[in-house]
Amino acid sequence: MSAFLLRRLWQMVPTLFGVILLVFVLFNFVGGDPAYLLAGKISNPAQIESIRNQLGLNESYAVQLGIFIKQVVTADFGSSWSTNEPVSQIIATRIGPSLVVLIPILVIETVLAILIAVLVAYVRSSLTDRAIMVACTVAMSVSLLVYIIVGQYVLAYQFGWFPVQGWGESLRENLLKYAALPVLLGVAVGIAPNVRLYRTFILDEVNQDYVRTARAKGLDENTVMLKHVLRNALIPIITNLMAYLPALLIGHFLIERFFSIPGIGREVIMAVERSDFPVIKAITIYVAIATMVINLLTDLLYKAVDPRVKLQ
């Protein structure tokens, strides 16, 4: 187990280095000279030169890469170009609101999707099953923008059931008042693709030999489905869920933007709009690290559900 952890952590090093390299290439070669971008905003030639020096832009690429690696290792990405707020502080303060929205979405969506998928699997290849699948396909075809635009307009603006946007101070207030509609819309967007996927996972298991054995034992359909089939189907479901986690953090940036939730996603969009490189770079690196850690957790989680998995 500890050998496994050590090896997996060791394997993260080249990946992280690759991510650093990719981000470096993107921002230092492809993006051109960042000092000019800054120049447009500051409009002071004397300051530009000082910024060039400050950023190390007059150094060789090797030294610049070294600086960037040092930033990653010390977790100090400097300050935002547009607000001068330290990047570390931006990330620390934005992560909370994101999680307040994301965790309920994730939990509700997953539980609901598994529930519906199991129900649909019971009536597989019936008319109900096909109707729900068609409905899912149609629901997936509508842009998530439309869900948010229409949802916000109808439910908040027209009916006034929810605040149109905003964010409060206390967790309770945020969770119950401000996050309610964003969570509802997030679930609405995510439920259809997940039901479709989970149904496939369950149906893949239904045709396995061990299900026939379970029936031959005289077990009732509920035990067969909920105990034998679902437990096996959980393995691909976990894989899918964990792979989806980091994307979820960014993926619901639109929701954050529409509802003015001060989260990471909204921060990314604003940073992109303002060409605020330090913020984008920092978030990219942090999310990449989070992804790698989540992958490791996935492997540990496998061990919990699947006895065949050996952590070597």
Partner: protein, 570 residues
């Protein structure tokens, strides 16, 4: 004897798509009495397994249909159309079932003990604690050592034989009056098969239950059955006591099945093929009886075409942080293949016999050793140097469905090797050659324009043989080449291989798990066990007088059918 199960006019069909429906079982009637063993024998597609699933009510709901007028009665009570709730009380308690592949038939995520206990909790209203305790006793009964520890293991931690014992324990848990065993030993090695057969026989006698044993192998059936039903294409060809079926078979198909498999006690010139019987032609018994001479005496006089010296193939697995585990799949194997002769390589699964073939072909990289072809080491050659030798050694694989590229027409499959090696002056000439080859393997010239999926397993294996022959090789490696084929088709392909060897003077390395087949075709037999050759002797000698304990064990395990049973009884 009281009648337990009565099946009458059972018809089952499957809907493949909107247009096609196939009838898998076409009006089958039979009965099973308490305490008897009824065997259903048939080749693939005979409908024997579908019959069993229909009795259990386990046919897939989506696309199967049991025709009106069919009837399955359990102790007088009609099961077809019975609500699932009532059927469930019978399944796993009165009627239990075990399947072909124990690994996939057990749920991978639950311990063996819990899976057995589940039956007891379901049918006997036991507590989980009591049920788990009883599960250990059942595992003990089916001969699993250290049952208390094994009960806590997951299926993947047990060997194939132990998994099947676990399945049997699960079936026994409900104290069934009838055990349906659907090809329970087909996926197992011959030594394990023998143990499972003995176990089921013991349990049947002890518990007085009836057994419905489904198999493709008449020899196995002969050892276990009281009565036998022979099925083909969804119909019953013949029903009789085991003595009648084996000594006085009435149906031509039954006769064919009995004669197609290579016998162990003599060595016919040719094997009987199914068409001889079905077309009413008297089978060429005379030809069959005429023993093929044992070659081997004066073997040293024949120059070896292939010499394998100290061949080893080790696989490494990563373990822990830096640790490695070594699997010696082939370890220090040496033998010679004389020109024009057949060497048989026999062993159970995991013995490394197939790895030997693949390593000789350089489809696996050898760890150590030499493979000398006419004195030149194939293993150290560069790719370019090896090209002319690739033409001279060819291989035929086990699975006829996997060994032909499904996207190529047969013409391309046969022409490609000739193109690569520049055989034939032009495409026309090559095509003419391909037609000749197809003729040799008994397929029409039309075959050239068709895709592999249009052919049966036996036909595909003929195409694979034709592909190998297109290079006019000197050595042919047959890696379990007839193992996936039905016994009647197997005989045809074995005859074909014999004819081709005689015609072209090829040398065969014939790899198989089936000792009877190896004895029939090989001049010299090598027995492999755990990566090593444990015995090597001329084919007839090894069966008459095996030296090594493993060989003796292997030979004892071969099911010999009814004749053997009577012999033991007298």
């Amino acid at each position: 004897m009281s009648e337990l199960l009565s099946v009458s006019h059972l018809r089952v069909s499957f809907r493949l798509d909107k247009a096609t429906t196939i009838e898998a079982v076409k009006g089958v009637s039979f009965t099973v009495s308490a305490g008897e063993t009824l065997a259903i024998v048939g080749e693939s597609g005979s409908g024997k397994s579908v019959t069993a699933l229909a009795i259990m009510g386990l046919l897939p709901k989506e696309n199967s249909n049991v025709a009106a007028g069919s009837s399955v009665r359990w102790q007088g009570r009609e099961l077809l159309g019975l609500p699932n709730r009532e059927l469930r009380t019978l399944r796993g308690s009165d009627i239990a079932m075990i399947f072909q592949d124990p690994m996939s038939s057990l749920n991978p995520l639950f311990t063996v003990g819990d899976q057995i206990a589940e039956v007891l909790v379901t049918h006997h209203e036991m507590t989980w604690k009591a049920a788990r305790k009883r599960a250990v006793a059942l595992l003990d009964e089916v001969g699993i050592p250290e049952p208390a520890q094994r009960a806590k293991l997951y299926p993947f931690q047990l060997s194939g034989g132990q998994q099947q014992r676990g399945m049997i324990a699960m079936a026994m848990a409900g104290e069934p009056k009838l055990l349906i065993a659907d090809e329970p030993t087909t996926a197992l090695d011959v030594t394990i098969q023998k143990q499972i057969i003995e176990l089921v026989n013991t349990l049947r006698e002890k518990r007085g239950m009836a057994v419905m044993w489904i198999s493709h192998d008449l020899a196995v059936v002969g050892e276990i059955a009281d009565r036998v039903i022979v099925m083909r294409h969804g119909e019953i060809r013949e029903t009789g006591t085991v003595a009648d079926i084996f000594t006085r078979p009435q149906d031509a198909y039954t006769q064919a099945l009995l004669q197609c498999h290579p016998p162990l006690d003599h060595r016919p010139r040719r094997l009987a093929v199914i068409d001889d019987f079905l077309e009413g032609k008297p089978p060429a018994i005379a030809l069959q009886r005429e023993a093929r001479p044992q070659v081997g005496a004066g073997e040293t006089a024949i120059a070896p075409i292939l010499e394998v010296r100290n061949l080893s193939k080790h696989f490494e697995f990563r373990e822990g942080l830096f640790g490695k585990r070594l699997l010696k799949a082939v370890d220090n194997v040496s033998f010679t293949l004389p020109k024009g002769r057949t060497v048989g390589l026999v062993g159970e699964s995991g013995s490394g016999k197939s790895t030997v073939g693949l390593t000789i072909m350089r489809l696996h990289q050898a760890t150590a050793g030499e493979v000398l072809f006419e004195g030149k080491n194939l293993l150290t050659m560069s790719a370019r140097e090896q090209m002319p030798y690739k033409r001279r050694i060819q291989i035929i694989f086990q699975n006829p469905y996997a060994s032909l590229n499904p996207r190529f027409v047969v013409g391309d499959i046969l022409l490609e090797p000739m193109r690569i090696h520049g055989i034939g002056a032009n495409e026309r000439e090559r095509e003419a050659l391909a037609r000749t080859l197809l003729d040799k393997v008994g397929l029409p010239a039309l075959t050239l324009r068709k895709y592999p999926h249009e052919f049966s397993g036996g036909q595909r294996q003929r195409i694979a043989i034709a592909r190998a022959l297109s290079l006019q090789p000197d050595v042919l490696i047959c890696d379990e080449s007839v193992s996936a084929l039905d016994v009647s088709v197997q005989a045809q392909v074995l005859n074909l291989l014999q004819d081709l060897r005689d015609e072209f003077g090829m040398s065969y390395l014939f790899i198989s798990h089936d000792l009877a087949v190896v004895k029939y075709i090989a001049d010299q037999v090598l027995v492999m066990h755990a990566g090593e050759i444990v015995e090597s002797a001329p084919s007839d000698d090894i069966y008459r007088n095996p030296q090594h304990a493993y060989t003796r064990n292997l030979l004892r395990a071969i099911p010999r059918g009814y004749a053997h049973k009577t012999l033991v009884a007298s």
